[in-house]
């Protein structure tokens, strides 16, 4: 069993640092829509609000474990050590982008860092992640797969079929269902049978006779413990678990969908923009996982105010530099478009 008490000072500071780096990256991405209109195309989705869940989960990871999230994928590679400058350049559609400008925000990939790739089709990657777990099992590598997906994705056949197979084959995978209360513009209370019945979404695990646990995804240490137990189970051959990690997406689903050349920007969160529910959004803001963890670390003497500020300043500079790097990187030359069709 992993206990949060076992996490040393360095590890706690590492967790805080990664959370802040994710937030600062996402803030830069969001600001791009104002500062460099048109630079980011298509549909960009942010992970602000998910930081505690992402980092708490990945804090349990061994160095060669696979990480496979959905299309809302910026946060994870930041923790894995992917240079934010290349991620940013990808979002700017530049030659030095992580995927050379071919993929954009929804399709980041960094296989060398055990981040094999992402899909924009809801729940498709749940099957891919399950396949990575099959590789680990067939080759007996001892790796575990961290599969992250949204509450919305948990309505898709791809979810049910994959989890059932993983349970049958006892695959080494942890399914982290990120319940951020929204499926794009639809509140979960309008589309999830468990939620409508007043049950947690982790109840879905019962359908496959695997462990299902709901955890407060705004607390990285709680996520650490719950995911840690599931990872240990998976690594020791006992098969998959389903963790419902509850947090709140702090930005709108994505930038507004517009037909070019009309510019696009980030609208208000759906709680306000669609449902007129300011109170819900403000409550979530007041429970910002980063602010909460910061206060906790300071209160417990892990960090001083000055040290916390230094971490934040460093993350800010790192992400400023990432934007400068992206802006300085050239656009790909058009003829490159015919590359990479076949291996």
């Amino acid at each position: 069993m992993r206990k949060k008490e076992d996490l040393g000072k360095d590890r706690l500071i590492w967790i805080y640092t990664q959370m802040v780096r994710i937030r600062e990256f996402e803030e830069r991405v969001k600001r791009t829509f104002l500062e460099h209109p048109g630079a980011m195309r298509g549909h960009t989705h942010l992970g602000d609000g998910a930081e505690a869940s992402i980092v708490g989960a990945l804090a349990t990871r061994n160095e060669t474990d696979f990480v496979m999230p959905s299309y809302r994928c910026h946060g994870y590679p930041i923790v894995l050590g992917t240079p934010p400058r290349n991620m940013m350049a990808e979002l700017y559609g530049r030659k030095d982008g992580l995927c050379k400008g071919f993929g954009g925000s929804m399709h980041l990939a960094d296989p060398a860092r055990y981040f094999p790739g992402t899909s924009g089709i809801i729940a498709a990657a749940i099957a891919h992640a399950t396949g990575a777990a099959l590789t680990a099992q067939v080759k007996n590598t001892g790796q575990v797969v961290y599969c992250f997906f949204g509450d919305g994705a948990a309505k898709q056949g791809g979810f049910f079929e994959s989890v059932n197979m993983a349970a049958c084959w006892k695959l080494p995978i942890v399914y982290v269902l990120e319940n951020n209360e929204y499926q794009a513009y639809t509140h979960i209370s309008l589309e999830d049978a468990n939620c409508m019945a007043g049950d947690p979404l982790s109840k879905k695990a019962a359908a496959f006779s695997i462990p299902g646990v709901t955890v407060d995804g705004t607390d990285p240490l709680k996520v650490y413990e719950v995911v840690g137990e599931a990872v240990d189970r998976a690594r020791s051959g006992q098969g998959p678990s389903l963790i419902e990690s509850r947090f709140y997406r702090l930005s709108a689903h994505g930038n507004a969908i517009t037909v070019p050349p009309a510019p696009t920007q980030f609208p208000e969160h759906e709680a306000i923009g669609v449902y007129g529910n300011k109170a819900e959004f403000q409550a979530a803001k007041a429970n910002d996982p980063i602010q909460r963890f910061r206060s906790e670390l300071i209160k417990n003497g892990v960090l001083s105010e000055a040290e916390a500020s230094r971490i934040e300043q460093a993350a800010r500079s790192e992400m400023d530099e990432a934007v400068q790097f992206a802006l300085a990187s050239p656009l790909p030359s058009p003829e490159e478009a015919t590359n990479y069709v076949y291996a």
């Binding site: 298509g42 400008g101 399709h107 794009a184 009309a262 058009p334």
Partner: protein, 326 residues
């Protein structure tokens, strides 16, 4: 009296009018009618207007089952690729049931989806997948290119007793045009000559109709008279109108946003080769997307997709060539 409206509004108007006309028409999909402010919900209530979770297989399969038993569902799918999750339902269920039952069963559903969003949506959200459907007997596929056609073909699709895939180009969503008010049905399977011309025929679909009309303007400035034909429906395909145009011009350029071998253009070219060969005075030319997935970055995306310039060049090259008699 016609009224100026945007493409998106024209589709919504048709759905609204058809739902008023026929209480068996129901409408559901993801991320729609979320609040009581929604005009469809206000007009028809939650019994007929619903929110679906992200479950395309069930959304489409349930529509089929409801259609077999008396309803006429319209499913909002937003992007055509999301249908691929439920390809069995689209291709191997909806269009097969009537035939397999020896004509006893009918499946009047409309699968509404946008496509071809050439705006940086990258590899999985910008594609043209109509080729997958246009060769499936029993399935109808329509692709309106103007607000008026958007309204008229939506009405026709809803009234049709067969499964109809209704695809609308995302790039035309806010284009405006005159739309007839009240009852207005554009029959499925009838092409439309969008611009008259005598020197060359350009057959184009969806967003490419707009590009081809712009190219025809450019050609006109250089003294070349191009006729632009929009099939409007890919299945059934109005080969006759296309061949009649080729009869007049003797030259044909086909413009399609899909990659070459998954384009409607390739099918139309084959039909013209068989039914219009004697009228051709030069080889046919296809202007399609290159054979790649759609890349994210703008210069890459522009390179891959057809544009006005490529259409103009293709038309000129066809005009320069002659079929040499053997």
């Amino acid at each position: 009296m016609p009224r100026e409206m945007m493409y998106g509004e024209a589709m919504a108007t048709a759905i609204m009018e058809e739902m008023k006309r026929d209480p068996n028409v129901i409408f559901y999909g993801q991320n729609m009618a979320m609040t009581e402010r929604d005009p469809m919900l206000k007009a028809f209530g939650r019994n007929r207007v619903r929110i679906a979770p992200i479950s395309e297989t069930a959304e489409i399969g349930i529509a089929i089952g409801a259609a077999m038993t008396g309803l006429r569902p319209i499913v909002e799918l937003w992007m055509s690729e999301f249908m691929l999750v439920a390809m069995d339902q689209v291709i191997n269920e909806a269009p097969r049931l009537r035939y397999m039952s020896g004509g006893q069963v009918k499946v009047p559903i409309v699968l509404k989806a946008g496509y071809g969003f050439a705006a940086g949506w990258a590899g999985q959200h910008s594609n043209c997948i109509y080729h997958t459907m246009m060769g499936i007997p029993g399935l109808k596929v329509v692709l309106p290119s103007t607000p008026a056609d958007a309204k008229g073909l939506m009405a026709a699709a809803i009234r049709d007793d067969n499964p109809v895939v209704y695809l609308h180009p995302y790039m035309l969503m806010i284009d405006s045009g005159e739309v007839p008010e009240g009852e207005f049905v554009v029959p499925i399977g009838i092409a439309d000559v969008k611009r008259q011309g005598t020197d060359i025929t350009i057959v184009a679909t969806g967003w490419m109709v707009k590009k081809s009309l712009a190219a025809a303007e450019q050609l006109a400035a250089e003294g070349i008279s191009a006729e632009v034909v929009d099939p409007r429906s890919l299945a059934p395909l109005d080969v006759e109108t296309i061949v009649n145009s080729v009869k007049k011009t003797g030259r044909l350029v086909l413009v399609d946003q899909a990659p070459r071998h998954s384009s409607a253009a390739a099918i139309i070219a084959a039909e013209v080769a068989e039914h219009g060969f004697e009228h051709l005075r030069a080889p046919i030319k296809m202007v399609t997307a290159l054979d790649t997935s759609i890349p994210y970055s703008e210069p890459l995306e522009n390179y891959v997709l057809p544009n006005e310039e490529k259409i103009v060049q293709a038309a000129k090259s066809v005009l320069m060539r002659q079929v040499v008699a053997a």
